[in-house]
């Protein structure tokens, strides 16, 4: 397998390339995160490489892996996260994988340059990466969650996010009231919410909904309360 792109990269950015490999024929370069955008722009603009086709951007969490020296996946770096970018050239038909390691830092400091103005396709992929791993892309035009909702707690593809973790119920979004008219009393079902065993589950809609004022989420009254406690197993099955 040719290492043509890797050779050009090594020649141009000797110091910024941490290590390279071509396992399974995939040319891969681990680079210094500080040069992330610079190298990406070079890959797009250099006529010898011309990586104009954006393919994929994602991340990997290496939390809990063995030390880097014993781990063939990680080369010499012991950082926790790796941002992984796949690119392709439409004319030259070659591909490259670019990786940058990020240390385990506080949420706000976990960041790398955004490539959204290098390839417009990076926009959503970076939002997804932020959503799933909590990696901030500085300079991104609109970095918000994409697959999950704003109130979601944590970043699910991190290895320390327990797959069995449940999320708290979300309050009704006040600011959205004028966009989404609230349900009337006879609409909607209280899916997934704890209901009192004595209250009949018959029919859509009901006095129960009105009484608890679920839509406004004011303090629940009476024995049917318990919005904050976890749903019982019986209700989970039904929901």
């Amino acid at each position: 397998m040719s290492r043509k792109v890797l050779d050009i990269l090594a020649e141009e950015f000797g110091d910024a390339i941490v290590h390279t490999h071509d396992q399974c024929g995939d040319e891969t370069a681990m680079i210094d995160p500080a040069s992330w955008k610079q190298i990406a722009t070079f890959l797009r603009d250099d006529p010898r490489i011309a990586m104009d086709h954006f393919i994929d951007l994602t991340a990997v969490d290496h939390l809990g892996r063995p030390t880097p020296t014993e781990d063939p996946l990680r080369g010499s770096d012991d950082s926790r996260f790796e941002v992984v970018l796949h690119l392709r050239s439409m004319q030259k038909m070659h591909r490259i994988r670019l990786k940058a390691a990020l240390a385990d830092q506080a949420d706000d400091e976990l960041q790398i340059d955004s490539l959204a103005d290098v390839w417009s396709g990076a926009n959503w992929f970076e939002r997804e990466c932020y959503d799933m791993f909590g990696i901030h892309f500085s300079g991104h035009p609109d970095l918000r969650r994409i697959l999950l909702y704003d109130e979601f707690e944590g970043h699910p593809l991190r290895k320390d996010y327990d797959a069995k973790k449940t999320q708290p119920l979300v309050d009704y979004r006040e600011e959205a009231v004028d966009r989404l008219p609230p349900f009337k009393d006879d609409e909607g079902m209280p899916f997934g919410r704890r209901t009192h065993a004595g209250v009949e589950r018959a029919g859509r809609g009901t006095a129960r909904l009105a009484e608890r004022n679920l839509l406004g989420f004011t303090a629940p009254t009476g024995p049917t309360s318990g919005r904050d406690s976890s749903p019982s197993s019986e209700d989970e099955g039904k929901a």
Binding site: T28, F54, I55, D61, L73, W119, N123, L147, P156
Partner: protein
């Protein structure tokens, strides 16, 4: 159409100029999946659009990290549920790339034939829904009937109508049946006749043409930068098809063409899919003809492939082999690889990392329509609200794949 900007004198009647915020979806009768498009309207013209996805997010990538490699197969089935076989094959190709094995020729032809059947079914779903969203109900019925003929073959071969989970790392769950070729030869004429009838109904229909031609246009350069692949990219005139550009399986042994469009509008996207149905039919014909009648389907490696059932039940070695493969899974060598194949919507990539155990460290899917739907905002902004429906329909967003 641009909103007319009229200067008003004092005292003259002024129409309300506030723009209106409209939410299309997440469940909209004219929408082709679960998606919400928040649009800001000035009259009927879109001034801003925000495409919001994620309503079908099921944590596919997280789920894959909990089981063995083989246990990912039913999950990948449910990514693009209109063509599960293509996802299946894409995933096992990734695992086999990391493993460094190539499946026997009979298996490769079999995978190609089944994949192309799935591709035809997928394109039919897209075209059918696309036509129906524009009010044409008969093509929907025709294409659904044709798809049912294909599902019959797939059901006969794999035992399941939709979610087959039929591919295996290092082979297939079962060899192709003796009647496979004959079933295809029997069904294909009816399928192609229905496809022709559909086109005959639509392409002379003024309403249909008015709503697809010249609308939802995307330029080549933007499409490439957005990461578009598959029929939507080819509709802009880029002849990029992984089956030709980077052949895998036995695609280099077949004679087929890559249809491309020129304008990159809704019409071209629709016609690209229609033309691809015909090309897929050609591939299937050749694959079935070239497929050896007998011979192994699975690779000969006891660490990867399940032993035959009579060995499992009658020999201790077979039992142990089976037990280890079920409990510990196929152990892929430590490392990473990115494998890509041409799914019905474009490049379906799997970036997989193994730490050497039977459980994936990370399975990343690169869904083709995630990148495509990303371009929707650009396509519909500035147009009329009624044009959102055909533009979105021709993208063929599949929620399961787009939302992971």
């Amino acid at each position: 159409m641009e909103p007319v900007d009229v200067e008003l004198k004092d005292g003259e009647l002024e129409l309300p100029t506030d723009s209106m915020l409209v939410q299309m979806g997440p469940s909209h009768p004219a929408m082709h999946g679960t998606v919400r498009i928040v649009v800001e309207l000035s009259g009927e013209t879109l001034t801003k659009a925000d495409v919001q996805i994620g309503f079908l997010h099921r944590g596919f990538e997280k789920m894959c990290e909990r089981g063995t490699w083989s246990q990912c197969l039913p999950y990948v089935d449910r990514l693009n549920y209109a063509s599960p076989m293509l996802n299946n094959v894409g995933f096992v190709l990734a695992a086999e790339k990391l493993l460094g094995v190539t499946v026997p020729e009979r298996c490769q032809h079999s995978r190609v034939a089944l994949s192309e059947l799935a591709r035809i079914a997928d394109h039919m779903v897209c075209s059918a829904a696309f036509a129906m969203e524009l009010g044409a109900f008969t093509p929907f019925l025709y294409l659904t009937k044709a798809r049912e003929l294909i599902y019959d073959i797939l059901e006969e071969e794999t035992g399941a109508r939709v979610t087959h989970a039929f591919a295996r790392i290092g082979g297939m769950a079962a060899p192709p049946s003796d009647d496979f070729g004959q079933m295809i030869r029997d069904a294909m004429p009816s399928v192609m006749q229905l496809v022709d009838d559909t086109e005959a109904l639509l392409l002379k229909n003024r309403i249909f043409l008015d709503r697809v031609e010249g609308l939802g246009v995307m330029s080549q350069k933007d499409a490439i930068a957005l990461g578009w692949t598959g029929p939507v990219l080819r509709s802009t005139g880029v002849p990029y098809d992984i089956r030709k550009a980077h052949p895998y399986l036995t695609y280099d042994q077949y004679d087929f063409d890559v249809p491309v469009g020129s304008a990159g509008d809704n019409y071209d996207r629709f016609m690209c899919r229609q033309a691809e149905i015909r090309q897929s039919a050609r591939i299937i014909e050749q694959a079935v003809a070239q497929m050896p009648k007998s011979g192994p389907v699975n690779i000969d490696d006891p660490r990867v492939v399940f032993p035959p059932k009579d060995q499992v039940h009658n020999t201790i070695e077979g039992t142990i082999r089976h037990f280890k493969l079920v409990m510990e899974g196929v152990e892929l060598p430590a490392g990473e690889c990115y494998s890509y194949s041409e799914a019905s919507n474009g490049e379906l990539g799997f970036y997989i990392l193994s730490d050497g155990s039977g459980t994936p460290w990370r399975v990343r899917i690169r869904p083709p329509c995630f990148a495509c739907v990303q371009g929707l905002e650009q396509m519909i902004t500035g147009g009329m609200i009624a044009d959102v429906v055909p533009a979105f329909g021709s993208m063929n967003m599949i929620g399961g794949e787009c939302d992971h």
